[in-house]
């Protein structure tokens, strides 16, 4: 397990560095593109869709209630994932689980997580768990960062499922 506590962080660092490599596939960039990577501070729908297409991700796109908000629903390793684009300013990816998970377990996941967080969502008598991650695009993102954001989340889902079924 990858610990992050103040006490343990440095002693676990070596393990962490190693574990980080195990945590998910690493994006090595698009070999086809030889031009210098461009830093963007806003991710257009066209840009995001071209990245998804390059990654061979088939999505269903829907518009949000607010202008400039779009959702991309797709499957990754049999999990239904939604990628949200909030006016190009930030991207949000999540997957919802209906398994009964306690707040204590959710926190346990968050203790070990680096690139996601788990959140308990209560709606009336229904309860679900969202595994989610966000990336702030206004500080600057590259295509590689966006690809890595999606790929990394695949690893987070896999690890979260293992965590739930431990």
């Amino acid at each position: 397990m990858l610990g992050k506590s103040l006490v343990g962080v440095l002693s676990l660092a070596l393990a962490a560095a190693g574990a980080a490599q195990d945590k998910g596939p690493q994006d090595k960039g698009n070999d086809k593109d030889k031009s210098p990577p461009k830093v963007q501070r806003s991710v257009t729908s066209a840009k995001l869709e071209s990245i998804l297409q390059d990654m061979k991700i088939k999505y269903a796109k829907t518009a949000g209630k607010n202008e400039g908000v779009h959702y991309y629903d797709f499957e990754r390793n049999n999990f239904k994932v939604r990628l949200h684009n909030y006016q190009g300013r930030d991207l949000w990816v999540d997957v919802h689980f209906t398994d009964k998970v306690s707040l204590d377990e959710i926190n346990q996941w968050n203790v070990r997580a680096k690139f996601s967080r788990a959140v308990l969502i209560k709606n009336a008598d229904k309860q679900s768990t969202s595994l989610e991650a966000q990336i702030d695009c206004e500080g600057g993102v590259t295509d590689g960062m966006i690809r890595q954001f999606i790929l990394r989340f695949d690893g987070e889902i896999k690890a979260f499922v293992q965590f739930l079924t431990k």
């Binding site: 992050k4 506590s5 103040l6 006490v7 343990g8 962080v9 440095l10 002693s11 660092a13 070596l14 962490a16 560095a17 190693g18 980080a20 490599q21 690493q26 994006d27 960039g29 210098p36 990577p37 830093v39 501070r41 300013r89 930030d90 949000w92 707040l103 204590d104 959710i106 926190n107 968050n110 203790v111 997580a113 680096k114 690139f115 967080r117 959140v119 308990l120 969502i121 966000q134 990336i135 702030d136 206004e138 500080g139 600057g140 993102v141 590259t142 590689g144 960062m145 966006i146 690809r147 890595q148 954001f149 990394r152």
Partner: protein
């Protein structure tokens, strides 16, 4: 009269400025004045080797001086000689990021403007002469603004530091911390290094995990798990976590930056600075619990 008036001829003006303002600057540096004529202002600009274009404003008593410095377009506003303002224009930014700058800035302020052409961000600084100023203070006003513009350009993304790297070396990260004027205490572990520092009176820790990812966190008092979850439900870019380390219970606010996909200096800088806002917001939340 505080300063000698100059003939209109540019050549003579430049020579006069060079003779009377620059060498004499040291002598005049400490002479206090409460108003600066347009000619005196222009003499200072010439002494600073600033090639300006002068435009009188529609409103009487206001003059604009447009020039370039350090690759940035700047304007000096002359308000009846009683106060001066410098500004530089950058692309539009979110109000959060504008505010983020203003939280930390001492000698400038950022403002988001909208006009017919769209949004833009202005970095501004004012010097009030009415209370008394010296030529040295005016020169310093320009120098400090140059520094502010350089720093702001990095935040706004115009700093020309968009070289991409997929591994954040220690010296790279330390140079970034230095550029943000962050004094840190470093602890080196095996494969990771922690940098502890204070920001806005909060103790923060930045951990570099072998250059592949960065984590920044701050610790707060223990919260109920319901409250921890509620915070995660309502925020982006952070993770709120309850810890119990050897019986010491606390809440941590954390954020991670995955560097494997490629990052730049400005992305790393933004990651560090954006956390200031998150910490300030979370502190308010914690206080109410």
């Amino acid at each position: 009269m505080r300063w000698r008036r100059f003939p209109c001829s540019c050549v003579v003006a430049c020579l006069t400025a060079a003779c009377l303002v620059v060498p004499g600057a040291r002598a005049q540096d400490d002479k206090v004045f409460k108003q600066l004529t347009a000619a005196e202002t222009e003499a200072i600009l010439q002494a600073l080797k600033i090639d300006f274009k002068k435009t009188p404003a529609k409103k009487e008593g206001i003059v604009y001086y447009d020039f370039q410095r350090g690759g940035h377009k700047m304007r000096l506003y002359w308000y009846n000689g009683k106060d001066l303002m410098l500004d530089a224009v950058f692309p539009g930014m979110s109000l959060d990021r504008v505010n983020q700058w203003n939280v930390r800035a001492k000698f400038s302020r950022a403002c988001l403007h909208r006009d017919a052409k769209g949004e833009f961000t202005a970095l501004e600084s004012n010097l009030d002469l009415a209370g008394g100023a010296t030529e040295g203070a005016v020169r310093h006003f320009f120098k400090v603004f140059d520094d502010e513009v350089k720093l702001f350009a990095k935040v706004a993304g115009g700093g020309g530091d968009d070289a991409l790297y997929t591994r954040v070396a220690s010296d790279k990260l330390e140079a970034i911390l230095k550029s943000l004027s962050i004094d840190y205490r470093k602890t080196q572990g095996k494969g990771a290094a922690a940098y502890e520092f204070e920001s806005n009176n909060f103790k923060l820790r930045l951990v570099n995990f072998g250059g592949e990812d960065l984590m920044i966190d701050a610790q707060f008092k223990k919260l109920k798990l319901d409250d921890v979850n509620q915070y995660n439900l309502n925020r982006k870019f952070i993770r709120c976590v309850a810890y119990n380390v050897g019986g010491r219970e606390y809440t941590s606010l954390e954020s991670n930056l995955d560097c494997v996909g490629g990052v730049t200096d400005s992305i790393v800088r933004n990651f560090i600075r954006a956390f200031d806002i998150e910490v300030a917001e979370f502190a308010k939340y914690v206080q109410g619990k």
